[in-house]
């Protein structure tokens, strides 16, 4: 039967029991997306764009950029301290 608009002004029957049953049937044992979901999407885009997108580790990482900035600054500070300690004195 073709769609019609037999209920244009009033909402269809809200049946709380049926709704609850529906929810139980479809939400129990609800699966979680796979852990590598994002990587899967990135690989597909990389492949379909013939390598234009997601071509390096920076674009694929999920860690915030600030983590890399902080790590770099700490390494530089450490190297500077080592230089101060080990540098030959006159």
């Amino acid at each position: 039967m073709k769609d019609d608009e037999r209920f244009p002004s009033s909402p269809p029957d809200e049946d709380p029991e049926l709704r609850a049953l529906l929810r139980r049937a479809l939400t129990t044992d609800e699966p979680e997306p796979p852990r590598d979901f994002l990587q899967g999407v990135q690989q597909r885009i990389h492949r379909r764009s013939r390598g234009k997108f997601y071509r390096d580790g920076w674009s694929r990482t999920t860690a915030p950029a600030s983590l890399y900035v902080v790590t770099s600054l700490l390494m530089m500070a450490l190297l500077f301290m080592l230089y101060l300690v080990l540098a030959p004195t006159r």
Binding site: D4, E5, L22, L26, F37, L38, V41, R44
Partner: protein, 202 residues
């Protein structure tokens, strides 16, 4: 990241339009669960849901330049998901029909052999017929057997709790049609439960 207000969402969409890969990572993280669960409810199979929900985000990445901001970003993503589900459901049902007809041909050729393995009992324990789990299974089967047009509106309304307006926007029909489809989907569901219980009790 949470897209809380229109200004934030507009800036985020600009980054997506500029094909900012890190912004897209955030988008996938934000919506992967909702999209995956929706697709799983629509298709009922985990492997298909994994494949199709990843495909949804590939399509979002490809088409983000066409997003005009007339609806919410989530509504637009859901629309893509629902359309892909519809196509996949059609493909799967055609494939199932083809497989079944091949099976029927096989059965015709060897009818007696086929009859030996035939079974009509779907429920092993009649005493637990109306226990919650079995009733839920009946409902899940009825939903799976429903036409995609009806299944999608029922899931979007009764499980995803979306408004009629949002559903109309996602499915691409008028609100009146959404209400009509929901009404008929619920009637189908009730009838399927009634039949399943009636048959099993008898």
């Amino acid at each position: 990241m949470k897209v809380e207000d229109e200004g934030t969402e507009a800036r985020f969409i600009e980054r997506l339009r500029a094909r900012d890969e890190r912004a897209f990572n955030e988008l996938v993280r934000m919506y992967e669960r909702r999209v995956f669960v929706l697709v799983h409810r629509m298709l009922g199979r985990r492997e298909e849901a994994e494949d199709l929900s990843q495909e949804v985000f590939v399509q979002v990445f490809k088409a983000i330049g066409q997003f005009r901001g007339e609806s919410k970003l989530s509504t637009w993503i859901f629309r893509i998901a629902v359309n892909l589900c519809k196509n996949r459901s059609l493909y799967l049902s055609r494939r199932r029909t083809r497989d079944e007809s091949e099976l029927e041909n096989l059965a015709d050729r060897d009818a007696m052999e086929g009859a030996k393995g035939a079974t009509v009992a779907a429920i092993d324990r009649p005493d637990e017929l109306v226990s919650g789990k079995q009733l839920e299974a009946i409902v899940a089967n009825a939903i799976a057997a429903m036409e995609p047009d009806f299944r999608e509106v029922l899931v979007l309304r009764d499980i995803e709790d979306l408004s009629y307006e949002e559903i109309a926007d996602i499915v691409g029909v008028k609100e009146g049609t959404v209400k009509s489809r929901i009404h008929r989907a619920r009637a189908q569901l009730k009838e399927a439960i009634r039949q399943a219980l009636g048959e099993e009790v008898a």
